[in-house]
Amino acid sequence: MITLSHYLILSLILFSIGIAGVLLRRNIIIVLMSLELMFNSINISLAAFSHFLQSMTGRIFVVFTITVAAAEVAVGLAILVAVYRQRKTVYIEELDEMKH
């Protein structure tokens, strides 16, 4: 039998992988993918809570989260293209123009 905690643990694992990806990876495209992973792990736990609490709110929330995440990634990609045109790089540690 799969219980609420199974879903929550799965979601936690995916969320941690996402955070690790954002913080550790150098390639910005992979950072954006890790952000998507974070949002989708949250969707899993929202849907699980919604199912086990017998309340619709969580499911409605998932729809909004997906939409907002899509908007965010679209803007992220656009900014990434602008950065690439400027610097010819997609590596995060090469973006250090404003140290002082």
């Binding site: 729809v63 997906i66 939409t67 899509a70 990634v73 679209a74 990609l77 656009a78 293209v81 045109r85």
Partner: protein, 119 residues
């Protein structure tokens, strides 16, 4: 419990079989006559610049991908709407068309601004 997954497994096996069978038959029976134009990734249209497997795509593909995301996500709202359309009635119908109309305006705007032009 697990038995209810049996059709899925059968389906999966069938798909795997069919796909490999088609590829195999194609390899054995199909005539082979390769030449340069035929081997290029685009048989018609533009000359390809460099290899596709280096991951270097035209930046413009990103713009089109971004425009696609909008309509990709729109379907997310259309599915639950379609399921309960009869229950909510005319209000939901009009509401969804307003929503689609706003998205369409966005596309027209991007078009008018020249986002779809191949530069």
């Amino acid at each position: 419990m697990l038995l209810s997954y049996l059709p899925v497994i059968i389906m999966f096996g069938f798909v795997l079989f069919l796909a490999s069978a088609v590829l195999f038959v194609n390899k054995v029976v199909g005539p082979k006559n390769p030449y340069k134009e035929k081997l290029s990734p685009w048989e018609c249209g533009m000359e390809p610049i460099g290899d596709a497997d280096t991951g270097h795509f035209r930046v413009h593909f990103f713009v089109i991908a971004i425009l696609f995301i909008v309509f990709d996500v729109e379907t997310l709202f259309l599915f639950p709407w379609a399921v309960v359309l009869k229950k909510i009635g005319l209000f939901a119908f009009v509401e969804m068309f307003i929503f689609i109309f706003i998205l369409a305006i966005g596309l027209v705007y991007a078009w008018a601004k020249g986002a779809l032009e191949w530069v």
